[in-house]
Amino acid sequence: MDFAWPTDAQQTYDRILAELAGWADTPAGEFFSRTQWLRCGELGLLGLSVPVAVGGGGFGFSAAARAAEAFGLGCADFGLVFGALAHLFACAMPIVEYGTPSVAARTLPRLTSGAWIGANAVTEDAAGSDVSAVETRAVRDGAGYRITGTKSFVTNGPLADVFVLYARTDPALGHLGLSGFVVERDTPGLVAGPAFDKLGLRSCPAGTLTLTDCWVPEQCRLGREGQGAAIFQASMRWERSCLFAAYLGQMSRVLDRCVRHARERRQFGRRIGSNQAVSHLLAELRVRLDAAGLLLYRSCWLLDQGRPARAETAMAKLAVSEAAVDLSLAAVRIFGGRGVLVETGIEQELRNALPSTIFSGTSEMQLEQIAKEMGL
């Protein structure tokens, strides 16, 4: 067992951190800009795991996760981090793994460079954790399909240029009646709704996507008809491992701030970090962070070996997201009154951590997956 990072992965990590040091956060109340997005593309963050031949970094799970960890560590604008990684893992990667050559050639160079913003549209008002409840229909029509339905919580949706979306091609086949499609924004009948007002990840817009008799050619279907659920699950293995590595970076950043604060802040004539109530809490959080990191990189290692790692990936996602919430909540308490001031920048870490227990499958769904894999 070797815990050392390969030289190239570490160099990428260091390079990303160095570049991010000069970045300004998205101004409050605004969404990330095209300029910021292009910088992400220049830094390689939008194509980490995309093949080199179409402009990506060609990284496997472990190297991509390590780079995502640097992104989360170096960039406190976590809405941008989330938007960029969701674009990569839930839009670009399904095209890499299941797209037709012509669609891949048209979309991937634009997605990796940052010329385009990508989005994933699977959730519907009545289909959250239960993907089999998707009602959006794709009906055969000539050399393509007509798609009708409404998606919700489409990350990047209000700004996106291209969508990977899932629709039901055969209602009689349950979860095996779903198919995936690549649909461009200017397709007649497609309307991206305005951005929701959200608690966290506020610089990343999310909204609805309405499709009315939207015709797409057959070549825009991902994989085979009925393979949509499998394609979606394949994208979730990227998200639940690599995207969540960004939260490891966020946690490291927040924990460092907590330790500095506990060493500097004095009450009753001594540093608050000299109180066991604080020092043991920070020590516990360090254990949670490291344990979550080990679970996540084990999952990446297994995925790099071509193993399904279903339980391990669910464990990693669960551990990282729950630790992120607990750690950032503890940070607010350690910072005391300053922890709830927006200007301190700690409360935003809590708001950005909270959605992590919901997107990419709720904590309850991860526990269900783990239990099923245990034979329960």
Partner: protein, 97 residues
Amino acid sequence: MEDAVEDPPTAEILRTFIVDEVLDGPAAGLTMETPLLEWGLLTSLSTIRLLSFIAERFGVRVPEDEVVGRNLKDLNSIAGMVNRLRSETASDGPAHK
């Protein structure tokens, strides 16, 4: 030396698995034509368990491109797919994991 015990038919083994592990309850009304996918009995999670069971019990791995509605829509279809894959595996040589 004991007499060799003949395996029950593939469909019966699969039906027992579905009843015990997927329905987790009475099998009343479950037929070989019950639409497992349409009725939501076979979900994405239970499909993964079924595929693992098929690999373990029958020694055949169901390729990704066989995991489609026509092969999994009911017990008849699943048994047909398993028997076909078993015969293909047998003609190819030893089963592989």
